[in-house]
Amino acid sequence: MDILKKEKKLLKLEEELRELDDDKKIESIKSKIEDYKYGMMQDLSAWDRVLLARHSKRPTSRDVINALIDDFIELHGDRNFADDKAIIGGIGKFRDRAVTVIAQQKGKTTEENIEHNFAMPHPEGYRKALRLMKQAEKFDRPIITFIDTPGAFPGIGAEARGQGEAIARNLFEMSALEVPIISVVIGEGGSGGALAIGVANDVYMLENSIYSILSPEGYASILWKDATKAKKAAEVMKLTSYDLEEFGVIDGIIKEPIGGAHHNPQKTYQAIEESLQKALEKYYNFSNYEIKTARYTKFRKIGFFQRFNYDNLKGVVK
């Protein structure tokens, strides 16, 4: 039974609770719900976390921005081609400090999703993000990015306008920006489309978010030529926050309330706020040079391989 089915059962229990008026029964059902909720979140499989990360009620970037950023002014367009609604960006205040915020925006309903292209950005979206980041560097503002995308959009227009180049340029420029960049993966972090706004000094993940090279479906279809094996793919891909923390690819996990972020959004926002505040404080005393070096060194180190020196072999092997 996956997490969505368990959640349905939970909703049924909650409905039962609303219809009751007997005090004693209410007490017992309430404790039953708490127990069930707690039990539900034990031993989550990787696939459960994928489902939670894609949950239709999960807070989107816009929700997080509304909760955390005061006086948010959205800025549009890449000054070249168009404004991509899959990426939203702007300036605002985070705990009385001016920051630039860039985020990938999913919708909660189908119409919203179509408007935001299911958070799959086109090249102009990445170029807008880069423009805003350069602007932030000019005015010495920290950058906060929220990652929530299945991946960059694969389409004729996107290819013709250089999707690959746009992502590459972002990675290139972000590696040497002289202001701190903090990224939080709040839902799905899919492939280069996520990394293109995720080359950050600190990368955090919400507990039940995922970050991977490709969607589990795509992974299964490439490796086993069968997209229906997504569940199996999710297990082998090591895409959960706990796996990635173990690998040292991310810098920390932001705990979610019991039941997932959508069960108590306020608590989620609070947790994100605390992590962001801590991270920004850490980089407050860094010089510009130290900030960019720290980021570069961090990514320079990532890799899983062995190497030895042939010169040392001369005595060992004839």
Binding site: I156, E159, G164, A168, M237, K238, G303, Q306
Partner: protein
């Protein structure tokens, strides 16, 4: 156990040197994409014309009748591009590991290693073109579609750093299917690593020429391949971020003729120049010469 690993790798290295002379005789791919034909007589897999294999080498692996550019092994690429005996390989001794414990990945790597006599899908080193020194990196699409895992990412970064330290121009021949799925998130992070290293090269005012050959897709297009100061493409090479099959599935339309081919990208302004393989060495030489004047 460690000693075994070292010995194995050392033997592989010896085998590589031994095999590199008759390296081309072992065809690997049975796909439809252009490949180096085997045997004495072979036919072009694009136009079906038959020809003598020896002529092919003289013709720089281009079909004499239909101009089809075959996929090259790394060593053939070096042979037709850099001065004879000038190539000095660097960055040896990397061992690919299996971070996600994927079934069959280690066997696959071992198989490709013996088939291609390469340690990984990328080799780099010092070389000269018409006497001009440079750092040259070549990806071999016969090694697991030239996909970028931790080792390829590290070697690409090392080659950039080598160019940086020696203050030499860097020319990279790209042929890759993208990031290596079997290494998961590590492959993804190589994109950031290689791009970051290129930024350092850029800040030092050094030249980076990226030559895109068939095929260049996925995570490699979205990182170092697109970041050349000058981006050259070979005719009819497939270059793009998402593969044509994925795009077709997503938009549920037929793709236009010539979509994602080198000529299409030049028309859209995404590559500087499409250069025929016969003229590639001269073009590179001219570019290197033009950048030599300012003391690079």
């Amino acid at each position: 156990m460690k000693r075994d690993v070292l010995e194995n790798a050392f033997n592989r290295q010896k085998a590589f040197k031994r095999k590199s002379t008759n390296y081309r005789k072992k065809p690997l791919s049975t796909e439809k994409v252009p490949d180096v034909p085997k045997g004495l007589y072979e036919k072009c897999n694009s136009c079906g014309e038959r020809f003598i294999a020896k002529d092919m080498i003289e013709n720089k692996f281009v079909c004499p009748s239909c101009d089809n550019h075959f996929r090259l092994r790394a060593i053939d690429r070096l042979n037709i591009t850099v001065d004879p005996h000038s190539f000095l390989e660097k960055g040896l001794g990397f061992i690919t590991l299996d971070p996600l414990f994927i079934d069959g990945y280690e066997q696959k790597i071992a198989q490709y290693k013996s088939q291609t006599s390469l340690d990984e899908a990328y080799i780099y080193g010092y070389a000269q073109i018409e006497g001009i020194p440079l750092v040259v990196g070549v990806m071999d699409s016969h090694f697991m579609m030239g996909s970028m895992g931790s080792v390829v990412g590290e070697k690409v970064t090392k080659s950039i750093e080598y160019a940086l330290v020696k203050r030499l121009p860097l020319v990279m021949f790209v042929a890759s299917g993208g990031a290596r799925m079997q290494e998961g998130i590590f492959s993804l992070m190589q994109m950031a690593k290689t791009s970051g290293a290129l930024k350092k090269l850029h800040d030092q005012g050094l030249l980076f020429v990226s030559v895109l050959t068939h095929p260049t897709t996925g995570g490699v297009t979205a990182s170092f391949a697109s970041l050349g100061d000058i981006v050259i493409a070979e005719p009819k090479a497939l270059i793009g971020f998402a593969g044509p099959r994925v795009i077709k599935q997503t938009i549920k339309q037929d793709l236009p003729e010539g979509f994602q081919r080198a000529e299409f990208l030049q028309e859209k302004g995404m590559v500087d120049k499409v250069v025929h393989r016969h003229k590639l060495k001269d073009t590179l030489h001219t570019i290197l010469q033009l950048h030599q004047d300012r003391g690079v």
